[in-house]
């Protein structure tokens, strides 16, 4: 057993008691009871226990990975008594005396943001012989100012008032424990200030639909507040002095999950910075209207996409400096949403706190959510099917015009994609016998009603395919085994996937086809299907049965299902080709995985780190690091080793 809980409670005399145990439950049921798990810093090391008489040092490190590298490598006698956990005080060291703890804290002071030392005797914390050194706000911190709300109407006013309080609290905590989130705090403030400005405009004017828009904006404020309260609670959990505030999640109630939140921010901010530096939505918006049109329909009939190989139209060949600051999401942990992306936030599954070192709950899944935001921004620039006036685009499409410029052509290609998906879905149902004949929903000419209806039904698939293809290239380095294992492990635990397995198979086929040798649709389908089948079968030996994986294998082996998928694949390929010809960016790909600390061994980039190593490396690319870790993950959650490795891994990123 390597997992042990540090727990505290108050005895009948009001004294703080402390103990180590294999369960948190006993602590939590006592008066003012709190507990958190701790693991040996070195795997296989001595499990956590408290000295009968001695002291415990809780360290809030600027960078836990850097401090642990020093502690483990340079202080030979200390490392055996060093433990790691989820909180801001992620490093806990037991020493024989207060003086030795103090000396250690002094020696490591450049690396330390704050610390607390408890002197312990017979299970009692000797408060008068304990030391608290609270973190100071970072010198470069700029506290976001409150948003002015006095002229707003009541509902919005109440929300902004709440927001200002939430932001003040988050700002104070972040300035002390996670100053790297400064830009997030400022960005959230700016986002709300922008909403307030718009609300005031709507209040003053008499624009049509202003009430509707106001309600939408107020709902936005409600969501911001909702996420902020969760985030403050998570990021501020385990703040010093320990035991004073309670994080209301039993398992982590004493030390909190602050270090894990910092790790999540590190992963997210790396993605965000990289994508925003390449600003594809901005490039499409600014450069495409100035470029000549291309033929958006030609590939459909001839299945020949070579006409799209126009050098100038690919986003990677269009140099445009970003004009606006990137939108930032709040990355937080959620058991309700799992991995999920919304306008203001990206959530990571709560399970990542204890099982990020499994294939099921691996952190790379966040990249998929992030890519959704990226792709939605790009397609938002290309075409908004809910726009009031779609007559021009209908006229262009029905007349098979190319449009006036590359942006107009891309808009028509987008429409062509949803039309193809509709057509092929219908055709596949006829071939498989689900329908008797083509229902004829696609007339010669698209109407406004039909256009909106098609987008309503098929936008999700178009976006998913683009996201999958980019995820497969950018994040997974085109590695079939890792990619398929990651997404299907993750899906295997999502109940809703079970009822739509063909849909998920199609999405996976589309991404694998992006590296198939160019050819006819059936040839590319067969190539992708055989590769997918091989990868899925290799997942079959798992201890726990995966019904969706078995169902996917069945679909790919069943002649009729395979035929149906093959027909639908033709439309998916159209979207794959759009992605590869226009939106895939080699420079962005390179920036995402660039890390001079990696070595190339046997043709693979690797950090060559084993679980429990503390080489003091600054991980420049969390994406590359997580990809490097993935093949060594266990299949499923539940073991102590997985939880231990999940913490170790996250601390490397902070």
């Amino acid at each position: 057993m390597s997992k042990r809980y540090l727990g505290i409670w108050l005895d009948a005399e009001g004294n703080r008691r402390v103990a180590a145990s294999s369960s948190a439950v006993g602590f939590l049921s006592r008066s003012h009871g709190q507990a958190s798990p701790l693991f040996p810093a070195i795997p296989g090391g001595r499990e956590f226990s408290l000295p009968e008489v001695g002291a415990v040092l809780f360290i809030v490190a600027r960078s836990p990975s850097s401090l642990l590298a020093k502690l483990i490598n340079d202080y030979g006698d200390v490392k055996v008594n060093t433990y790691i956990g989820h909180g801001h005080a992620a490093i806990v060291v037991c020493q024989p005396s207060l003086q030795e703890c103090e000396a250690l804290a002094t020696a490591l002071s450049p690396e330390i943001r704050g610390f607390e030392i408890w002197t312990i005797s017979g299970g009692l914390v000797l408060t008068e012989q304990s030391i608290l050194c609270e973190p100071l706000p970072d010198g470069s911190w700029i506290q976001p100012t409150p948003v002015e709300f006095s002229h707003l109407q009541s509902e919005a006013r109440a929300q902004v008032e709440q927001f200002n309080s939430n932001l003040a609290l988050l700002g104070r905590l972040a300035s002390m424990y996670a100053p790297e989130t400064a830009e997030l705090c400022l960005a959230i403030r700016e986002s709300v200030a922008f909403i307030v400005e718009r609300l005031l405009e709507l209040q003053e004017g008499a624009e049509e639909g202003s009430v509707h828009e106001s309600i939408g904006l107020e709902a936005h404020l409600v969501e911001v507040n909702s996420i902020l309260t969760i985030y403050s609670s998570q990021l501020g959990s385990g703040s010093l002095p320990l035991g004073e505030d309670l994080f209301p999640v039993g398992e982590y109630s004493l030390l909190g999950i602050g270090a894990m939140c910092r790790g999540a921010w590190r992963i997210y901010s790396h993605l965000n910075q990289t994508f925003s530096q390449h600003d594809h939505a901005g490039i499409v918006q600014r450069a495409y209207p100035l470029l000549p049109p291309f033929d958006p329909y030609a590939p459909r009939g001839r299945v020949d996409y070579s006409g799209w190989n126009q050098h100038a139209i690919r986003v990677e060949n269009l140099d445009e400096a970003p004009e606006a600051e990137a939108r930032l999401h709040i990355p937080y942990f959620s058991s309700r949403w799992g991995f999920h992306e919304s306008w203001n936030a990206i959530s990571l599954s709560w399970q990542c706190l204890y099982a990020a070192a499994t294939k099921e709950w691996n952190l790379l899944t966040i990249t998929h959510e992030y890519l959704h935001a990226h792709i939605r921004d790009i397609f938002g620039v290309i075409f908004d099917p809910s726009a009031a006036d779609v007559s021009q685009v209908l006229s262009d499409y029905n007349g098979k015009s190319r449009g006036d410029n590359a942006l107009a052509s891309m808009r028509l290609a987008y429409i062509e994609a949803v039309v193809m998906i509709e057509t092929m879905t219908d055709l596949s149902e006829v071939v498989s016998g689900t329908r008797q004949q083509i229902p004829g929903t696609i007339p010669d000419r698209l109407t406004e009603h039909l256009l909106r209806d098609l987008f309503k039904r098929h936008t999700e698939l178009v976006h998913e395919i683009v996201v999958h293809v980019l995820d497969y290239w950018y994040i997974f380095d085109g590695r079939d085994d890792v990619y398929v294992n990651s997404i299907w492990s993750s899906w295997s635990l999502v109940p809703s996937v079970a009822s739509r397995v063909p849909y998920y198979v199609l999405r996976t086929l589309a991404s694998l086809a992006s590296t198939s040798p160019p050819g006819t649709n059936p040839a590319m389908f067969e190539d992708a299907a055989s590769r997918l089948l091989a990868c899925l079968k290799s997942m079959g030996s798992r201890e726990r049965e995966r019904p969706v994986v078995n169902e996917a294998i069945r679909l790919l082996e069943d002649k009729e299902s395979r035929q149906k998928l093959g027909i639908q694949f033709a439309a998916s390929r159209f979207v794959v080709e759009i992605t590869l010809h226009f939106f895939k960016d080699s420079r962005l790909n390179a920036a995402l995985v660039r890390d001079g600390g990696m070595a190339v061994i046997d043709g693979h980039r690797t950090y060559n780190m084993q679980f429990g190593d503390y080489p003091g490396l600054v991980i420049e690319s969390p994406v590359a690091f997580l990809l490097d870790r993935f093949p060594g993950y266990e299949d499923q959650a539940g073991s102590e080793r997985v939880e231990h490795e999940s913490i170790w891994q996250m601390l490397q990123l902070v």
């Binding site: 490598n73 080699s586 390179a590 660039r594 070595a599 190339v600 060559n608 503390y614 080489p615 003091g616």
Partner: protein, 263 residues
């Protein structure tokens, strides 16, 4: 100066640069390894470096199995493994180069030294900041010549990871200009000449150095070249033994580097 290297030891030497406060001379090294007073076979200066050639006696199990040993390497106390040890001070800190044709020997030294210093600060290994070295060469600030550069290709799928460009000045080639936005500097081979002779030293970004060892006149040039590289690529210090990261470079791959020897 004992000049010509024994024929058995004429092959690519691999080296690492180690930093530790207890490692300031060959005697320090020998003492930490518990070997008493060291008797170097040769000793010479190369710029700021003091270089010793030492015969490290050990069982023959560090010697590559595929090579037939010659009787001349047999000594009382073990097989004589050639080991170059060099030391100099950079910015007030002592650095030591350990160079040997036997990668396993360097690993063994690392393990033994780690144990010897276990109660204090750990060994640190130095690696060269390769992007800065590349930049220096591109801006023409060096007295060295870069004849081979290796780049890590970042946007390719798993089929391709490293690409090397060779020539008189590959860093100023069109090809390099085309690929550098999707590549990261990985390794470099430099040439250093004293007008009479030239020597080639290769260095990668994780801290491995290697050269083809022929005689100690050239070894001297190698260390002068290393000085230049350290000057231009402010070194980083890490805790990893570079050899662990090295692309499986063993004696078996020696043939790949045999062309490094100057004719």
């Amino acid at each position: 100066m004992a000049n010509r290297t024994s024929p058995t030891e004429q092959r690519p030497f691999t080296a690492v640069i180690v930093r530790h406060s207890q490692l300031e001379s060959l005697q320090d090294l020998s003492s930490l390894l518990g070997l008493g007073r060291a008797k170097p076979v040769s000793e010479f200066a190369a710029g700021e470096w003091t270089v010793w050639r030492w015969e490290y006696l050990h069982r023959r199990n560090l010697y590559p199995a595929g090579l037939v040993g010659l009787g001349e390497r047999n000594r009382e106390g073990g097989w004589a493994h050639d080991l170059y040890v060099a030391q100099r001070v950079v910015a007030g800190t002592s650095f030591m180069v350990l160079a040997s044709p036997y990668v396993r020997l360097l690993r063994q030294l690392d393990e033994e030294l780690r144990v010897a210093v276990a109660n204090g600060p750990a060994l640190r290994y130095l690696n060269i900041d390769m992007p800065r070295v590349f930049e220096s060469f591109q801006s023409g600030k060096s007295s060295l010549t870069a004849t081979k550069v290796t780049l890590e290709i970042l946007d390719e799928l798993e089929n391709l990871e490293l690409v090397s460009l060779t020539g008189s000045n590959p860093l100023n080639s069109k090809l390099h200009a085309q690929i550098k936005s999707v590549a990261e500097p990985y390794a470099i081979r430099v040439e250093y000449s004293n007008g009479l002779q030239r020597a080639r030293l290769s260095v990668d970004r994780v801290g491995n150095l290697w050269w083809y060892q022929t005689d100690e006149t050239k070894t001297r040039l190698i260390f002068l070249a290393l000085d230049e590289l350290i000057k231009m690529g402010a070194a980083n210090v890490g805790l990893r033994l570079p050899l662990d990261l090295k692309y499986k470079r063993d004696q078996n791959s020696a043939a790949d580097d045999s062309n490094l020897e100057d004719s």
